[in-house]
């Protein structure tokens, strides 16, 4: 366990930074609209984190942790 954690954290930090900078993702309903941190739903987090594999399948907890960290921002 823990083999993917460093990569998940690196990506999670970038996901929050990019959301704060107003970057859209493929989960956006309309890319023409500005994106704000408050739009970072769990669907958005899942899309933005895709490509980071966890073989223990801890995805729900990873998504929850990112959502919580984003809220504190």
């Amino acid at each position: 366990m823990g083999f993917c954690t460093s990569g998940q954290i690196m990506s999670a930090v970038a996901v929050i930074e990019e959301a704060k900078a107003g970057w859209p993702s493929a989960a956006a309903e309309d890319v023409r609209k500005p994106f704000v941190l408050g739009d970072l739903s769990k669907i958005e987090i899942r899309e933005r984190m895709s490509g980071n594999l966890c073989r223990c399948a801890c995805y729900p907890n990873i998504v929850d942790a990112i959502a919580e960290a984003a809220e504190r921002n």
Partner: protein, 321 residues
Amino acid sequence: MYSFALSTADDPANATAAHVQDPHLAFIARGTDLIGLIKDRATLPERLLDINHLPDMARIEALPDGGLQIGSLAHMSDVAADMEVRRRFPVIAEALLFAASGQLGNMATIGGNIMQRTRCAYFRDEDESPRRPGSGCSALNGLNRNHAIFGWSDACVATNPSDLAVALAALDALVIVRGPTGQRSIQFTEFHRLPGSAPERDNVLERGDLILAIEVPTRAEGRGSYYLKVCDRQSYEFALVSVAVAVAADDRRIRSARPALGGIAHKPWRLTASVSALRGASLDDSDALKSAIAKSFADAFKIELAQRAAVRALQTAGARA
């Protein structure tokens, strides 16, 4: 062991000259496709010329006339996040967002994206024999579920994997190239080529050609544009079929529409035969839209017809057995 020499280009003219003189030299930007190809032994350049430091090639410029100029070294993520790109040509931002994960988008460049090579499993196989020009197409009677339905040849049935390319074809973009004899523009729809008998040539670039920028001309259809990607998996996957379309409409009636398909040919496939039938069609009349699109698939009805005929023949013959 394979090894290569790496040097850095400081000037486009020198880069072009080096590429002409040395057939074993390849340009490298961020290498998100090239390094993968090298790992697969699909290409083994002896020398790499790093073009990342060439000046003024990473700019994203919103032109005063409504068009757009995107430097070939601009990163996919930066282009997708650019508010002017998103407002003027949402199809470009969407194609980029659906193309890759965040990590890849932050690395990969626009020029590299349209230069990426096919994902055909035989082309990327460690065994180099299916790649050798003239060896024929292993996918023709092999794993070809995701391969071309238009424009293929006996030599190759592979598809072009770029999402961005489909959007740029729909928008009639231009590829600005610096070559040994100076600068020129190539129509995006003419940039990629069909395989014919030379499938190893993906595009019309010659030795020494360096992509400087992509130019997207202003057009009424830009703002009403959209990219739809259909894949086996929702995220981080190549298209089975994708559609880039730009529409100008008044009161939900099409004034002009420019659809292009991805995932079905060696290059982005424009549905030119449908353009005139789409003019004047109501956005709410799905049957009219379907029949306009069907004009680009004139013989497609035969696929269903052939299957039904085969089933009926099986049953009739079986009853006689």
